[in-house]
Amino acid sequence: TFLHEVVLSMASHFALSGLETQGWRAPMDCLRASEVCNQNSQCSSRFRIMRQCLVGRDRTTMLGNRECQAALEVLQDSPLYDCRCKRGMKRELQCLQSYWSIHMGEELYETSPYEPMHLSDEFRLASIISGKPCNPCLDAAKACNLNDTCKKQRTALMATCSSATPIQQVHEPCNRKRCHRGLRQFFDRVQTEFSYPLLFCSCRDKACAERRRQTIMPACSYEEKTKPNCLELRRTCRSDPLCRSRLADFHMNCQTTPHSITSCPNDNYHGCLVSYVGLIGSDVTPNYVDASHTNITISPWCGCRGSGNHEAECEAFLRDFRENTCLRNAIQAFGYGTDAGLVPITESQSAVPSVQTNLQPAIITKHVINS
């Protein structure tokens, strides 16, 4: 964590000194940034040292080492420092690996490697549902069935996530890893115009809400016999660059933000939904926990039993999903259409602590004694 701070703070220092003018600092994708760095002898040698610094067993001692810190100082100045990655870009995974090779501090909440998202019309379009259908989720299924790509991908997903075929003999419920890959493939290949309504349709009854819950085929992709500890799940996720990036992206774009109308960063619902969908098919796949149509509760499949002294941190991680005002507003806005007159619950109204650093609103009551 120390190094991460150093990295952040160094940036501001160099920024001040006007290095941007050298043209290195325009934000580029991390693949390009690594190439640029490798073409510069000073940068590439430091980058190699940096990698060795990270590989060392006891990272903290290694990072205390003079040479590592010197390598870091040079890298602050390279385009690597500010680089970002685009969702769905070519060689996205390598880009993310480059990013994490220089941002390796383990924070409660990490900075997302993805480029910030702008409010897109696509969101408004997809979310405005013509007329007031009685079961929007059923209509979403219809729209998917009538679209060739969506229909094909949905059938492929169903085949991947259903129980073992006779060839596998053993009657294991399903191959969870393969199902996760299938889910990522589904959301990568199907236009959001068809995939998002399946996930975020608004429901007025239990059947519709259960259909919505079934979209990611939870029997295979979500539920498991035992619930792992959430911090253990987060650790597993952070050991995989893709999962780590998607989790950081979710935390950043769905972070309940006080003093905003929507409770979302930059009031950007779309950014939150995109980063939520980015998590589907990862180790931290989230889903609706029940078929309640009145009160949406979303959670990864994990619990806080066995957290020991980290229980507060574990519960904070769970709250980022289960009591996330921004995420809930974003889903409802999508489902009911942004002009549905639904006033989003703002952060202060909800007795829910902010996402950052497991803070909770100071519940202050007043009592006056006239002296």
């Binding site: 059923l138 299924a141 069935n145 009538l146 229909k151 169903m158 085949a159 079934q214």
Partner: protein, 102 residues
């Protein structure tokens, strides 16, 4: 005048899965493609010969009934399987149920 029969071609109709009559109960709507129309234009010498031989009793009564002397309007290829969620929240897949070409 009698309506001239359209040539054999692909038609479609939007139905719910329940309306397919396969026993699944699901309100999901899907498109069912099927082949309909006449095939006279694609007859061969075989058809002419068989029609003649059936008329001239060169085939046994029994054989005659079961031999077709004109091409049928049938699918030559089927669409990929389709999956849906039924009303009991179970996923199913149906193979070879909708025509792709006739």
């Amino acid at each position: 005048a009698k309506k001239r029969a359209k040539p054999c071609s692909l038609r479609e109709v939007e139905v719910t899965v329940s309306q397919l009559g396969l026993g699944y109960v699901s309100d999901e709507t899907i498109v069912f493609h099927y082949c309909s129309g006449k095939c006279t234009t694609s007859r061969k010498n075989y058809d002419l010969t068989l029609a003649f031989m059936k008329r001239s009793r060169l085939l046994t009564k029994y054989e005659k009934d079961k031999a077709r002397h004109s091409p049928c309007c049938r699918p030559t290829a089927y669409e990929e399987d389709i999956s849906f969620l039924d009303n009991f929240n179970k996923y199913h897949t149906i193979q070879e149920f909708s025509a792709k070409a006739c």
